[in-house]
């Protein structure tokens, strides 16, 4: 009995060390794991996959470095998928701190897919305004983005000459770590019937399933798990796929510790009674 109680009262620093070990070892050893693709991610993939070549996809970078480990792999995988399908990509965002992450991903993916800035993709950068801007872009994108983030006029990009508002955007992708995805769905999806898919952090995912079930979004990529599933679908494993064994090991440890802690608690309560 004392054994369980001792285990239940073990110093938290030991638990941190254990967690560090179970996270680090799988990253180094890289055990092979099979990733089962969930329906929400498959739907998100399908929404991109069904678009005809030349369609315009707008990716909104609504996350910043604090959630990059989860959302950045989604951005990389989505860009690979969009470029493979020869879609035109517009990148913009609602968080100033997130836009450099878009540049990192574009600099990584565009050269390997043979895509050229201005011909195949543009980066508008960040503009303030949030919901007012979201609604305003339904009339004319140029009211908010006359130039890209390098101060080059939008109309100097050939494919942008035909893009004026949401009617010209086949799919909107919000990669979000907060309530921005909700705003895109409510303000743009509701008002303009814009097709939307969302990639979000694990914390946000449960709140977004309601939109998926109601058909307000066409797909949902939730957390590192979702990112790894998308990487599986685009057949290019990346950092998310690499992190999944560590994720599973950490979850296993947490469940084990929860069980041990509860047994210890129940036994000590029984003893006191």
């Amino acid at each position: 009995m004392r054994f369980w109680e001792r285990l239940a009262n073990v110093d938290r620093k030991v638990l941190y060390l254990l967690l560090a070990l179970v996270v680090a070892v799988p990253i180094i050893v890289r055990p092979k794991t099979s990733i089962r693709v969930s329906e929400p991610v498959r739907e998100a993939f399908g929404a991109v996959d069904r678009l005809p070549a030349g369609s315009v996809v707008m990716i909104s970078i609504d996350f910043d470095p604090s959630s990059a480990p989860e959302v950045q792999p989604m951005l990389v995988a989505l860009l690979r998928h969009a470029f493979k399908k020869n879609l035109k990509v517009i990148v913009m965002g609602q968080l100033a701190l997130g836009l450099p992450l878009a540049e990192i991903a574009l600099d990584q993916v565009a050269p390997e897919m043979g895509k050229k800035y201005g011909d195949d993709y543009v980066n508008f950068g960040y503009r303030p305004g949030f919901t007012a801007m979201m609604v305003g872009m339904g009339r004319e994108i140029r009211d908010y983005f006359r130039t890209d983030y390098r101060n080059v006029p939008v109309d100097s990009f050939p494919f942008m000459r035909q893009v004026h508002n949401y009617e010209d955007i086949a799919l909107l992708v919000s990669l979000a770590h907060g309530g921005v995805a909700d705003a895109w769905i409510q303000y743009v999806g509701g008002r303009f019937n814009q097709a939307i898919i969302v990639g979000c952090t694990g914390v946000n995912a449960p709140n977004l399933y309601q939109y998926l079930h109601s058909g307000q979004i066409k797909g949902l990529i939730g957390g590192l798990q979702g990112a790894s599933e998308y990487e599986t679908l685009v057949e290019r494993p990346g950092s998310a796929t690499l992190g999944m064994p560590a994720q599973s090991a950490a979850h296993g440890l947490i469940i084990l510790l929860l069980v041990i802690g509860n047994i210890g608690y129940l036994l000590s309560r029984k003893r006191k009674a």
């Binding site: 990253i27 701190l97 919901t131 509701g190 008002r191």
Partner: protein, 208 residues
């Protein structure tokens, strides 16, 4: 190349400094925390000035004047004044001036939000809830929604049938919280994995 190496070493040092909080609160952690907050704020200010205020206000004003678009140039004075009024918030004696631009912002937010809440949230969610009772899932949705709503009905004491319903509502709420907590744990572990990946891959080159 050299700058990349220096950057990686700084990032790795700051990561370890932040993780040192797990042992206990210490000066390394505090320094890293302050650097993070300061850098983020500094970056946001520079970004807002260089990519928004300067091109959209200063440049736009100059360009419009040069093209003789006087109306489009001088209208920019209005957001400039509102922006300056907003900054008055930091001076206690004239902080009340900031209420004007705040009220303007709140007005826009409410106006837009009202339509979005009804059109983009309430109506689609209600219509999705009202499903035909032909599957077990739909039946569970009905029970969950009704029971949870009854739990939040506080005008009557939760006794008898109302008590039973509200207890069922608590179960549904707890299941929702559980799912949310599970995802939160996953998210936090993901962030830890991200940092470990950075330390082992970018810094120590243990993995390739």
């Amino acid at each position: 190349m050299l700058l990349n190496i220096i950057g990686t070493w700084i990032a790795a040092t700051l990561t370890l400094a932040i993780l040192s909080f797990l042992y206990r609160d210490n000066p390394f952690y505090k320094v890293a925390e302050h650097i993070y907050v300061g850098t983020s704020a500094g970056f946001a200010v520079i970004y807002a000035w260089a990519f928004d205020v300067y091109p959209m206000l200063v440049d736009a004003f100059r360009n419009n004047l040069a093209e003789h678009n006087y109306w489009e140039a001088w209208i920019l004075v209005v957001p400039t004044i509102l922006g300056i009024m907003m900054l008055c918030r930091s001076i206690p004696k004239i902080a009340w001036i900031s209420r004007w631009p705040i009220s303007f912002t709140v007005g826009i937010g409410s106006g837009l939000g009202l339509v979005a809440a009804v059109q983009g949230y309430l109506l689609p969610q209600i219509s999705d809830t009202l499903r035909p009772l032909i599957t077990v899932n739909n039946f569970v949705v009905y029970i969950g929604v009704i029971a949870t709503l009854f739990y939040f009905y506080f005008s009557k004491e939760h006794k008898g049938a109302l008590g039973v319903l509200s207890r069922v509502g608590i179960i549904f709420i707890m299941v929702a919280f559980g799912a949310s907590f599970g995802y939160t744990v996953m998210a936090r572990v993901s962030l830890l994995i991200g940092r470990f990946y950075f330390l082992l891959h970018d810094w120590l080159h243990v993995i390739r």
